[in-house]
Symmetry: C3
Subunit: 220 residues, 3 copies
């Protein structure tokens, strides 16, 4: 696997693992629960991608560096939560960086495995959103990705840029920088300036027998 891909993958794993660990600490899980959630958030996206493109055992299983990085992120968050919290300010920002890394790495690895361009872009998105979805499902929340503004779209846009650059035979490094930048920029505008996608107009009432959750506050 090329070095660029490993760096992106491990970088994404690290920041997502921190986001997972922060959610775990907030829910007052013990140190091992924190490590499990760090690993889940950091690696579920990449593992899903690898299973889907047939790259087994997945990198996160075959290579101890992924669990090492996740454990490091988990322990750092656990022992220096106030510091991590101050540095990270908000899980959202870490999540945004991880999203950019993973969207790019996911698209590039899918392309390298001969997946066609459209699906490679979607796999990039899936790689990006998988870890955060599992993190939220494990603590019984509706995944942020399904509520947060421009979340999946940012991942898809970043991955699409990577795929387009690949079709134009640009250098993978350039593709990664452009794709990651687009992804992060979209999340930045969404978090800072409230950019968002429309929801369906006819304010639907949740049917009383529908499977629903007690608090579905408007707009994430």
């Amino acid at each position: 696997m090329p070095v660029l891909l490993i760096v992106l993958d491990l970088g994404g794993t690290f920041v997502f693992a921190i986001s997972g660990a922060m959610v775990a600490v907030r829910h007052r899980l013990d140190v091992f629960g924190v490590l499990v959630l760090a690993f889940a958030a950091g690696n579920a996206g990449g593992i899903t991608r690898d299973l889907l493109i047939g790259a087994v055992p997945p990198a996160a299983i075959a290579d101890w560096k992924y669990s090492g990085v996740s454990a490091l992120a988990g322990l750092a968050t656990f022992f220096w939560y106030p510091v991590t919290k101050k540095v990270a300010n908000d899980v959202l920002w870490f999540d945004a960086v991880g999203l950019a890394f993973f969207a790019v790495a996911g698209a590039q690895k899918a392309l390298a495995h001969g997946i066609d361009p459209t699906m490679a872009a979607l796999l990039g998105m899936l790689t990006g959103i998988g870890g955060g979805m599992l993190r939220d499902v494990l603590v019984s929340g509706i995944p942020t990705v399904l509520r947060a503004d421009l979340y999946a779209l940012a991942a898809l846009a970043g991955a699409a840029v990577v795929v387009s650059a690949h079709l134009l035979h640009l250098h993978p490094m350039v593709a990664a920088a452009a794709g990651g930048g687009v992804c992060f920029a979209l999340r930045f505008m969404a978090i800072r300036h409230g950019w968002r996608l429309p929801t369906a107009r006819p304010a639907p009432t949740v049917a009383p027998d529908a499977p629903h959750h007690p608090h579905h506050d408007e707009g994430n």
Copy 2:
């Protein structure tokens, strides 16, 4: 892959994607959240089946038609929700059709991959219930399949008919029609006429420390 299988698979994907999108609109997700839930509901069952029988990359990843059909269903539901709602009347009916398509397609693909008959029937069931389960877990509900009457049983019955027809060397088309018919008929009787399976007699009280959900209303 034979044409019949593709038609069943894409048909099931379409109706499940609509059911996923309707749930997403009800929870007021944005347009991309609607697309993600449409894809998840429409393809999780088939992707799980393909991973389990070793057919990687799964059809839904290798072939853009699956995501295309899911996106179409998602957008149609999003933009014409009142129309979709009137046509669909209830997610339940769409779900029932999708269940029948997937139970049949799942069993036939498993047989085609040399899985033994009993497990092929169970894989048909799993294909049928996978998408709906992921849809419900993602919006934090207890999956309909675990509560709704005759749900998994209908899928299993349909898949078992397909497997039996296969063992009797009947034409796959006949097997598909019979299996799909049985599955839908069972769901029809359950939804319309309240057919249901018994729950355990000794009304158990939920232990206070048990992982539970605030509302577990009787009978789905």
Copy 3:
């Protein structure tokens, strides 16, 4: 697959399937919902392990014995719930036995597939905690593994003992007994004597916009 591995795997499947069925009965699912949850709890860990090490189709899919054992456990629990309840006293104990069986079997199968020692220990842990996690997510709870004391750690310790014994060329039977014993002993001390891991000190308040669950009672 060696006999020892099959016995451990089927034993773990049986007790986890009972724990899944008991949770299903408590949530008043119908008989088929009980069977589905029994299968999910009994086999999710092993299926995940097999997918990750590239052993497809997974044993639980290729071999009808796994679903047979799960169905048996599910039906026994459904029809004799009061008896099962008296014998089992608490899902926790069954869960502990299943955890020990699966942690050992997971580590041994991973080693047999040439996974490196560190990752084999982690895969043993994952095999152990996978079924219980899916069981709890399906009924919308935060997985016990993320709250219960020494849960994932017990699985990891057991798996690590198995891996160490393997590196020391001890007999697999000895490794299994030692690893399973360590895992169960740790859970025993946690359940009976309240051994637990620390949670992060700075009592963090759950941010109002964070995805959370209404009841997050202290200490499972």
